[in-house]
């Protein structure tokens, strides 16, 4: 690029965002040195889950909605189970809640390890991919693979398989793992915990651009510890409300450039869900080891630099290993794998913390269990407005950079969110136009 970004009309554009889950594009337009337009464009084709869920049985959403996302199927299974159980007036026993939490730890491990080592770290270390990075840092990539494998092993035991687990049902599970099967996972999880601690130490040394987010953070907060499978909604603006009131506080709007709907708080401001939000609102509930790792990494009580989300994600890896070991250590079996959830007419809401942030489901069902209406709000559509706002704030002071370098850094800024575009469709799209 011979022309300077500060002169005339310039466009930073990436037609296929790499190292994100799904299909998105970015366009940032700069006119005479001012950022005039920012779009994260989601062209991932719509699949219409909310439409074809109508007419299905109340027992089917865990299997069907898992297929929205191959990276976080458990999140879909968990939020849908909670919503349907709420509609039917059933609360699952403590043991089932714990086993759900354990399965969810597996998903966090698999997803966070994938993002830290395969999608995000190459940006900080200057590679196009983890495979290229492996030529110089083989041990690092092998560590990422081991961490991911430990998460997948947990998913495979508790869920039946790593992608689209088969063992989750409304009311609980089909079969619970035995104590000896769970105990067999301990060595891999213990090694994983050590390696997760090393990962926090490593990623905390990565150079990050200076940046501060002004947005409100939103996550669940739960009496059962750092939020995963349960809780009600809290924000850094001081709001607190039950999951059932989520839609009263958040609006989704459909913009022309995206097949994802943008979610905003009702005052119209963007908000952020995911690791940064959970950390800001619930770091006191992290395991002691994870809290110590966060302190050593210099995180403080709140982290507002989205480029340091990789550090928070690594801290959450530590927590997820710790939590999985704690649950396995205390597991004494359960009276049964599931409780009955007889259908009744009603409406139910469910939210859990997917690796990328809060995932909300609502179902309205008929007295014979037929689904009449389904509503799903995935994390990436909630983050889309703040991703665009981040880009706008990020690009403006960096117009002295070369076109290619700034484009690369914009992509990195998007990856801060670990956007899952497959999820966000209905529910994303980015182009930088420098004009």
């Amino acid at each position: 690029m011979t022309h300077r970004l500060t002169e005339g009309t310039q466009v930073l554009q990436v037609d296929t965002l790499a190292r994100v889950e799904g299909e998105g594009a970015m366009r940032v337009e700069v006119r005479d040195g001012e950022v005039t337009d920012v779009e994260l464009r989601i062209y991932e084709p719509p699949r219409f889950f909310e439409a074809f869920l109508r007419g299905r049985a109340w027992t089917e959403p865990p299997d069907i909605t898992a297929r929205i996302c191959g990276i976080c199927p458990v999140a879909y299974q968990m939020s849908s189970c909670l919503a349907i159980e709420a509609a039917c007036g059933v609360t699952v026993p403590e043991e089932i809640r714990l086993m759900r939490r354990l399965l969810y730890c597996g998903e966090w491990l698999e997803s966070h390890a994938l993002h830290i080592f395969f999608l995000h770290a190459p940006d900080f270390l200057g590679y196009q991919s983890a495979i290229e990075m492996a030529r110089d840092h083989r041990e690092l990539v092998e560590r990422g693979l081991r961490l991911k494998k430990a998460g997948n092993a947990l998913m495979t035991l508790v869920g039946g398989r790593a992608v689209h687990p088969v063992n989750v049902r409304v009311g609980g599970f089909y079969r619970l793992p035995t104590r000896s099967e769970l105990a067999a996972l301990r060595p891999a999880l213990e090694q994983g915990l050590d390696e997760a601690l090393q990962t926090v130490a490593l990623v905390s040394t990565f150079d990050v651009p200076e940046m501060e987010q002004p947005y409100e953070y939103l996550s669940l907060r739960s009496e059962h510890g750092y939020p995963l499978e349960s809780g009600s909604v809290v924000t850094t603006g001081g709001s607190a409300f039950p999951v059932a009131e989520f839609e009263g506080h958040v609006t989704e709007e459909h913009v022309a450039h995206s097949n994802a709907l943008h979610a905003r708080l009702h005052d119209g401001d963007p908000y952020v869900v995911g690791p940064l939000a959970r950390y800001a609102l619930c770091s006191d509930q992290l395991s002691p080891l994870a809290q110590e790792a966060a302190r050593a990494a210099g995180l403080g009580g709140e982290c507002r630099n989205p480029f340091r989300s990789i550090v928070v994600r690594a801290v959450e890896l530590v927590h997820a290993f710790d939590e999985a070991l704690r649950i396995i250590g205390g597991w004494n079996g359960a009276p049964g794998p599931a409780v009955p959830v007889p259908a009744r007419a009603g409406e139910g809401h469910g939210a859990t913390e997917a690796p990328r942030g809060l995932l909300f489901h609502r179902y309205r069902i008929d007295d014979d269990g037929t689904i009449l209406e389904a509503q799903i709000v995935p994390p990436t559509s909630q983050n889309q407005a703040s991703i665009e706002a981040d880009l706008r704030a990020f690009v403006q002071p960096r117009l002295h950079l070369s076109h290619d370098e700034l484009t690369r850094q914009c992509e990195q800024a998007i990856r801060n969110y670990d956007p899952c575009i497959s999820c966000a469709t209905h529910f994303l799209d980015l182009r930088v136009d420098e004009s």
Binding site: P45, R47, F48, G70, S129, A130, R169, H254, H426
Partner: protein, 263 residues
């Protein structure tokens, strides 16, 4: 960087899908680095920013065709691919999003989006084979890691992949799982579903729900009668054939028989 020029080039493409099948490639934790010594990953946006220009020796295609642009794009993918292998239920039968094929997509669009005009979509979700010649179809929702490695290894060794087309029942017997249908009366699609997953569901005390699509010679009518005999309502028989492989012909045909009797 020394010998990569001589390695076969792999490309991974995504159409309408959940990413789970391409994730399966990254889930080959024990094989991935060894594999990259044998194959050059030339195009795989989910894993790398680097783009190596085609043509490619093997293209793995995930997802179904659901937009006018994608119907064009798959033709370009075919042109630059020596072998084209579809991975997963979306690419081989249209996926769960093929449920639109039984409904009015305009109505679907208006249910999900406030401004349906912003969304370009086709009225049917179709498998890759409906658009271009496919050299090999790998089944599953998601695909099985072992089968994916087998397909890539077979390509490197210039032989046909050993991927069976018999039913899940064979895998249950081999695994020593007691038949959930016979012993417990649990509705199970195992007899009509292709093997490949390792018969996971019956091992977890549930019936097979058909992720790998129809086996070679499925007697879906007989199985449907059995499901009815076990007490399954007609609407549920329709639903069990209308999931992730609803567009696969034997499953589509069986579900259509029940469409007539379900109000």
């Amino acid at each position: 960087m020394t010998e990569t020029a001589a390695l076969p080039r792999l490309a991974v493409w995504k159409f309408a899908s959940c990413d789970g099948c391409q994730l399966t490639l990254l889930n080959c934790e024990d094989e991935l680095l060894a594999l990259t010594g044998q194959i050059e990953i030339a195009y795989f946006p989910e894993a790398t920013r680097a783009v190596v220009e085609g043509p490619y020796d093997v293209s793995l295609v995930e997802g179904s065709v659901t937009t006018p642009d994608d119907a064009e794009r798959i033709r370009r993918v075919r042109e630059v691919s020596r072998r084209l292998v579809t991975i997963g239920a979306c690419a081989t039968s249209g996926g769960i999003q093929a449920l639109r094929n039984f409904a009015d997509v305009e109505e679907f669009r208006s249910v999900v989006y406030a401004h349906p005009a912003y969304v370009a979509t086709l009225d049917r979700s179709t498998p890759i084979s409906a658009h271009v010649t496919v050299d090999f179809e790998l089944r599953g929702c998601p695909i099985d890691k072992g089968q994916l490695v087998e397909v890539l290894a077979a390509h490197l060794q210039h032989r046909r992949p050993r991927v069976p087309s018999y039913s899940v029942c064979v895998e249950c017997k081999r695994r020593g799982t007691v038949c959930v249908a016979v012993a417990h009366g649990t509705p199970c699609l195992g007899p009509v579903t292709q093997a490949g997953c390792g018969a996971i569901c019956p091992a977890y005390a549930r019936g097979c729900y058909g992720c790998f699509g129809p086996q070679d010679t499925p007697n879906t009518a007989s199985l449907a009668d059995r499901l009815r005999w076990l007490g399954m309502p007609e609407i549920d028989v329709l639903r069990v054939f209308r999931t992730f492989n609803a567009g696969a012909e034997p499953f589509r045909r069986e579900s259509a028989r029940y469409e007539e009797v379900v109000p």
